[in-house]
Point group: D2
Chain length 365, copies 4
């Protein structure tokens, strides 16, 4: 595209466009959500990467950390303290929780926008945070100003947001299909058993015996049973959006694939609603959403069809008994579940079209 423009000789226009390019810093660029931001920004017409940070790997070239980026001419990794912050328009914070709040507290005064991909600013209540994450929240003041960025449900509040808390992957994949049904009062709040499947990238990039190929290949298992940290986050947003109190049951399962997430929820219909109303609710809610597809009746979502894209495929199915239905949604945990939604949120904060730079299709096969 850039070449095409240059070739036309429209230098004036070219310069105007380039002068509007925003500069991004990626904090924690040596992790998987970090490199996913790098991958996605490759095609973003209004964002360029100006700084990469990575505490343990500061001083290394980007290509040493992720060999697929070696030819891009990216900046070397550095400590976040060394970044020339006045030069930065937006920081994508891809840091572990705990570290994220500490760093963001420091840089927030110096950067127009911070998009946090960690869990640190998702829970509005610092006491709940402390209970769920086993550490105090040290910045309740900042917490208050964070905008929870489930993009499709936060377009207004994201506009000109300064600190954006991107949702967890399970909440994203759960709330997108359930919020319309709850808001339209089609289903009961008393029983929301969510069974989820996730790929291994969700566990991050780290040397851990439990994450080795040999321990994970050719097998599956649940984890965080009865206590996954994303369950309170889901309840919080359901209440905020619909005013209804819930106590969802969330059981994630880890299976041998790199990317991908499914949530399957058995919902009880409020009488006299039927399956048809559920489908209509989803279709009406998302008819203008660029990334969400309510599949044709009967089509079952597959994670591989959204792999590497910012898309969510969903559908609702009749169950064996009249009063229940099954709601299924899939995303790529690294993209719509993390880095893609982060960029979508930044687009919205700037008043840009939300799919700017994100119109990539699922990577299949």
């Amino acid at each position: 595209m850039f070449q095409a423009l240059r070739e036309t000789g429209a230098l004036f226009l070219w310069n105007e466009i380039m002068s509007n390019i925003k500069k991004a810093a990626i904090l924690g660029a040596s992790g998987y959500t970090g490199v996913e931001v790098i991958r996605l920004l490759q095609h973003h017409p209004k964002l360029e990467i100006s700084a990469l940070t990575g505490h343990s790997r500061a001083g290394e070239r980007a290509g040493d950390v992720f060999a697929n980026t070696a030819h891009l001419g990216l900046p070397d990794l550095q400590d976040w303290q060394e970044v020339n912050w006045p030069d930065i328009d937006v920081a994508f914070a891809c840091l572990p929780h705990g570290a994220s709040q500490e760093t963001i507290a420091e840089i927030l005064p110096h950067v127009p926008t911070v998009v946090d991909l960690s869990a640190d600013f998702r829970l509005r209540d610092p006491e709940l945070y402390s209970k769920v994450y086993g550490r105090p929240h040290n910045f309740p003041d900042i917490l208050e100003e964070a905008v929870y960025g489930l993009s499709e449900w936060a377009r207004e509040s994201l506009r000109e947001a300064k600190l954006i808390a991107c949702p967890g992957c399970f909440p994203t994949c759960t709330l997108l299909p359930l919020l319309p049904l709850l808001k339209d009062e089609l289903i009961e709040t008393s029983s929301l058993p969510i069974s989820a499947i996730t790929g291994v990238t969700g566990a991050g990039r780290k040397a851990s015996l439990g994450l080795t190929y040999t321990e994970l290949a050719e097998g599956a298992h649940a984890y965080g049973v009865g206590s996954h940290r994303h369950a309170p986050e889901i309840d919080q947003i359901i209440e905020r959006v619909t005013g209804q109190k819930t106590n969802v049951s969330l059981t994630p399962h880890l299976v041998p694939m790199n990317r991908g997430m499914i949530t399957t929820t058995v919902v009880k219909l409020k009488e006299p609603n039927t399956y048809n109303e559920l489908r209509e609710s989803l279709k009406a809610t998302y008819q203008d959403s660029k990334f969400i597809t309510v599949l044709p009746e009967g089509d079952i979502p597959q994670t591989r069809h959204v792999r590497g894209s910012n898309r969510c495929h969903m559908n609702v199915f009749r169950d064996r008994t009249a009063g229940t239905a099954i709601v299924i949604a899939v995303i790529d945990n690294l993209t719509k579940g993390s880095s893609g939604q982060a960029i979508q949120n930044y687009n919205l904060s700037q008043g840009w079209e939300e799919n700017l730079g994100l119109d990539i299709i699922g990577f299949f096969p």
Copy 2:
């Protein structure tokens, strides 16, 4: 072992043992449950393979159909009509449903015991069969005499059984953890949302685009949503064993691994029962069962730990809300979920110890 015996020169004893060896025919030996029976019988001291059948591959050597068996000196595959049935003590029928009932009706008069791994004799009611499998059941008389072989719950009825209907893999993995809880009246019957994960061998061995590596690797999806054929089978057995009517919700998911199955069920406790009673019920029920392990408190079952074995690992977990709990079980769908349980059932039918030949540990890594 055989060598050891021979070396001692105990020829008399040796001869006596050998004269008690039963002869097995495997029908449908070119499929995965067929070769799994072959694999398991390798170590069975009282069973030897005398015939292999396979309609489409009749005339081929076993080693051409499954190269891992080439050195075993197995009989060639033949049409089932060519088997010398008076010579056979037991037929393991590893055929597709439909074909299975037709074949079994023919051979049943000529063989002391038939162990059916298909779905054809699982549902007691021929009309239900017809509705679920989309074809009539042509042998309702035979249906009546079939013993449903969920081994741990059918030890008595299996004794001297002539026709054994082995349970489906999902029913096995669901009923083993739920039956004790239902029988002990610890949980509600009104809400049983079962989410299941299975490996690809469950779909059988066939040329199908949807089963190719490229279509399945690095992705996951649900299937049979709202209508899986194993759901009525689960209801039937719950009613038979506990007298309680249910309408379970079963959503299976296919993930990229060859073997393994998880069922995760969110159960509602009958007041005033607690999580502790659930655990005690499972432990008490299975304390003498050789293949079932109720894991230590908090330990999460993993399919890879039972891969290739006839074992079932299970556990129960507190959920976020007091009145619910999460029940998880894992099996190998080909072993305890099919061919292993078939052999276990035959052992029981003969009055042998049920673990005869089946004491193999999970194949890991």
Copy 3:
């Protein structure tokens, strides 16, 4: 990007760009190389998809054939006879060999450019074709005008080419590292043992027992041993480019991954050359090639770093004995090994920059 342009109101410029967009037809769009062309053209500023054909699936929507493309507004699949050929600027033929030559013979008079991804126009000699592919070549006249499109070695001949024969994946991954060494007369031609590894997509999209997940997962095997069809193609190009006759030994191995290819060749150095000259030859040859990276000394190429990109990573290593060296290259068999190189070739045929629309980084993790 398009939005950005529209927003600036530069309608005049916009119209000029759009009027220069070429229209592409993809023949055989229901296969993996077909959908890979679709994926890559998403970001091409000068090409748009106007027609998709697929014999067995004519009449279906693109989203039914590849669910990841459902939201793109692609044309439905049709028979190639139904395409409005005068409207098409370029046809990417992703057909099986045999079918490809027949179809191309029909459409070539009506389309400015045909890029053939099949094997039908790779071998210049129709008798060799007949011997290797077991069928006659019916269009020797057309064969003569085909340009063999190993992009980096055919930039001149591709300019204004009408029929482009894209190389096989193994030849691409073998010739790119070996041609410089042979051309610079650094290595012997008498011994070129090439061991290769490929992902499963190389076998195409078809229902085949041998390609099922269960038959391929957790195992590896060689195939086409001593007789792979790509070996004569490699010899042909070595001779054409360097004038040297060879008889390469090529042993491909199939391993459980969707995409990716490695070639490892043990080369004998012509005295008095050393390993250093090999490295310098590769670096000098490809210093201006946008898609080829000669890795830093000692770094080993990994397929995952080029997955989904049009890139080739290569390196050369000292072996244990002074007179030999090991040459390793990796590509994505579907991208640089097929659909990506096809687009690169079309770019070159039009005098565009060769990386137009292809600047995507490896999809990792």
Copy 4:
């Protein structure tokens, strides 16, 4: 089997057998070769496990280290110093090199037989060891008495061996097919380019970023290029067995599967030999070997067919040119490539049949 015996009431015989059971200690039981010895000994009629050691996990239950063994009643892990050595008949040392020699030096005086699975006693020359492994060999005296246990080529020397050095996996998979051809002087020694593929278990069980699922899935790469430690070991054995000096080229590739190994070697025939002589040589050499199958002409070995078994499948193929041939062999790197061969060697050392306890077929699917 045991039940069968008990049932016959042959108590006298039973007691005699049991009194001949040897007691095994497994050193380093928390690694993959350790648990593989455990798995295989399950069915060994003359060996039982009396002690398990594991430095970092001493005090843990076996089931905590490998959950698949939880029900076996195995001894807890302990420090090797705590083992009651006078009670032990054989130690299987599954330790890292370096640690292995130190431990073995201590226990060798107290145990009748030590089977070392590490690299510490494979290279006869301590200076070569020091050069290859980057550390001195501290026990050259012990080194001299070690018997190199490539079972099929060491049956005589293994008889009553006290210290057995089990070969590396690559040497096993390379030497088995090449030794007959070299010994029969059918192929040249000057050019032996070996390309190998291995599963991930070969790297051991450890927390390492490079071994995580996310870094290894869906990709492949070579490693140890030009310098793999097993190359000098291969040369050493070729010279010892055939008197011929070689300088093999070995390039291993890591691919996403847990177990399995292929070696593919392009050999040059000594005139006037032909491919037929190669096949005859392999068949004649191994006609009485219980674990080695020379496949039917044209059949290509697949790792999945020997997975979990102690078998080696091999074959030889015509290459495109008359004077060369391609030799391919497959093993399971953990079984015939390590723990299985270790037990086979102990069997031979005791004068037992070499396949005692090892007659298990490949685990497929």
